[in-house]
Symmetry: C2
Subunit: 227 residues, 2 copies
């Protein structure tokens, strides 16, 4: 699968890039700055070998031929990055928004949550892309540190929300390609109002227990996935 | 420990009553209706044996000598039950609020969330009890069906939030007395704004996957508890 990661030089985006590359996907790391993207490409090759299918580009260029675009930026940069990519998305692109509306965006704490006018950052994102783009919320609860620890499986589940079942299943395939991970269909895009709040909850737990890797498993069923 | 459960004849409250009794605690099942409370007491004895330390009473009477009071009612009944018990709580009582502000309270869906003026149902509860009562939010994510399956451990974690560390630890002890369960300190009471949203998320997941027992485990650390 071809995946572009807008904001892919950040910790979360780069961690996902590594994991998608390890699963054999073709990854383009996007950044505001082409030089930064190139540096991350070099780092990925150093970690995974020269033969992984990775390249880098400015965000707008990174998305031009990607059926799946993952957007991993702090809330304060969300509108700016969507403005940069919106006219370059392919028809029917799956746009995976991982934004959590932390109050840190306006000088508050990272364990406090802002309520966007649309209800969630993912629903806000849906207003910033062309109508036929399919916005999915995912990866809010995945610790960057766990993604980066590439010698270990990621023992976490990913809550995937969205209004397009096929788009959710495609994101689910990306998730299941990462050793240890499973995906759980969390419902329509509006459920991002809940799942985005899990990031600050984990930040709060990480602070209290002096860890960087808290996350969630969903229990109560042997298998999850497309349901 | 002596525990009163206001709204203890409901599925969640009764499930907790059973589990606390099995752990050797002294439980008073509270209800609006003393006859209903008596029926639940009889059912508990039938399930667990005549020698368990259970009794029943109207809610106001149930709490009069309980250092820990658990309140498990639908959001629509929350203010009413606090009005009934507030003048009967002991000094410094630990009040465990398990309310989720589901939009079902006003005719909406159980997977939609209302935002109480105070931020969360637990913070609303804190305005409804005497100032020296210590409100803790907990048990939002625990499936009643899993509590009721008394021959099985409850393979779930409980997020406990509150502003009083000792109160959280006390609730944590109650949690850890239930086989399979662990407690995780989720931070101050305001974090209930997040943890209360986990109930509708699980309701949504239960619907989609046709189960009644979805829940959470927190991963990333071997042990949780008081941290």
């Amino acid at each position: 699968m071809k995946v572009a990661i807008a904001g892919g030089t950040g910790k979360e985006g780069f961690g996902l890039a590594l994991r998608f590359l390890m699963a054999g996907h073709n990854v383009t790391i996007g950044s505001r700055d082409a030089a930064k993207a190139a540096a991350s490409v070099a780092e990925a090759k150093e970690l995974l070998g020269d033969d992984v299918a990775v390249d880098g580009a400015e965000n707008a260029e990174a998305v031009v031929d990607a059926p799946v675009v993952v957007v991993t930026v702090p809330f304060a940069g969300q509108a700016v990055i969507y403005a940069a990519i919106r006219d370059h998305l392919i028809d029917g692109a799956i746009v995976v928004d991982a934004t959590s509306p932390l109050q840190a965006a306006v000088g508050g704490k990272a364990w406090e949550v802002l309520r966007p006018w649309q209800g969630s950052a993912a629903e806000f994102a849906a207003t910033l892309v062309p109508e036929n783009a399919r916005v999915v919320g995912a990866f809010h609860t995945v610790a960057a540190a766990s993604l980066r620890a590439i010698d270990h499986p990621v023992e976490e589940d990913v809550l995937v929300v969205g209004d397009d079942a096929e788009a959710k299943s495609t994101v689910g395939e990306l998730v299941e390609g990462i050793p240890g991970m499973r995906w759980v269909d969390g419902g329509p895009l509006a459920m991002a109002r809940i799942t985005e709040g899990l990031t600050p909850l984990l930040i709060s737990i990480n602070r209290r227990y002096k860890t960087k890797e808290s996350g969630f498993r969903i229990v109560g069923r042997e298998t999850w996935g497309a349901g």
